[in-house]
Symmetry: C2
Subunit: 136 residues, 2 copies
DNA sequence: CTTGAACCTATAGTCGCTAGAGGGATTATA
DNA sequence: TATAATCCCTCTAGCGACTATAGGTTCAAG
């Protein structure tokens, strides 16, 4: 049995975030001490790690609810989990592609060596989209 | 002189977003028709394009305020613009690196070919961070 | 028993919009 | 000129995933 502070330290999830997850129904409301403070048992740590990891991978709170639900029923087929993962993968790949275009453009414009704004590529490029080398 | 709807169509910035930018001080409050509707002249289009483009590159509203301010003063040195761009570049590169690690992991776990949750790599990997091949 | 750290709830703020309600203005057609 | 369709107005609230603050209570160490 440990306090929310300890749980936070052990999982790396901030205290208000833990309470938020409880509110969102991702973790069950734990027992309380006589003075109404939350007291957790170890099993919540696994669940919190699952949640944290999923968030890092970009799954939404709603996605995670579904994944947690699934993980509670090992006999169920796991298409849903796969679909979610595959969808996230697509998202991630699209974001990478977009960011790489931005990287390219930012690199180009930050190489400008003008001294005043009048001839600065940063400003010029932002002002005139037609100067972009890529489409976005 | 054109209406907010026309401005929206021409710049691709949605109507409420235009009003929001006005509220945030990115664009000046325009003239009004007799019936209190906004009437824009062409010059705001450039400014809106600048804003839109900057947003696409990931600059914050506050950043853009600074950049617009700069662009209004061509005689000023442009270090600030460069710094902002360089910082954005770093951000973007960090995000790319992180996303690529996620991509790797998602690819791996979505290749799972189990039929039930009991042996599903998606669920397992999310549950047990130690299975990750990458650190995050 | 005291003190200071940790905890509680509830509410508001963050960012960059977006949606909705409840109305008024403009424009095209009859 | 009347009317209908479309556009526009302001104001307020909502989104997601937290984060911060205020004002109070409880816990654990000395």
């Amino acid at each position: 049995m440990f306090s929310i502070g300890e749980l936070s330290k052990r999982t790396g999830v901030k205290i208000p975030t833990i309470r938020y997850y409880e509110q969102m129904g991702l973790i069950a409301a734990p027992e309380r001490s006589e003075g109404n403070q939350r007291r957790y048992s170890k099993d919540v740590m696994q669940r919190l790690s699952f949640i944290r990891h999923s968030r890092e991978l970009g799954f939404s709170i709603e996605d995670i609810k579904g994944l947690l639900e699934l993980s509670q029923h090992p006999e169920k087929p796991c298409h849903d989990a796969h679909n979610l993962a595959a969808q996230r993968l697509e998202d991630v790949q699209a974001r990478i592609a977009k960011l790489q275009r931005l990287e390219h453009e930012l690199k180009r414009i930050s190489e400008c060596d003008a001294n005043t704004v009048a001839h600065c590529a940063v400003i010029e490029t932002l002002a005139d989209h037609s100067l972009c080398e890529t489409v976005h």
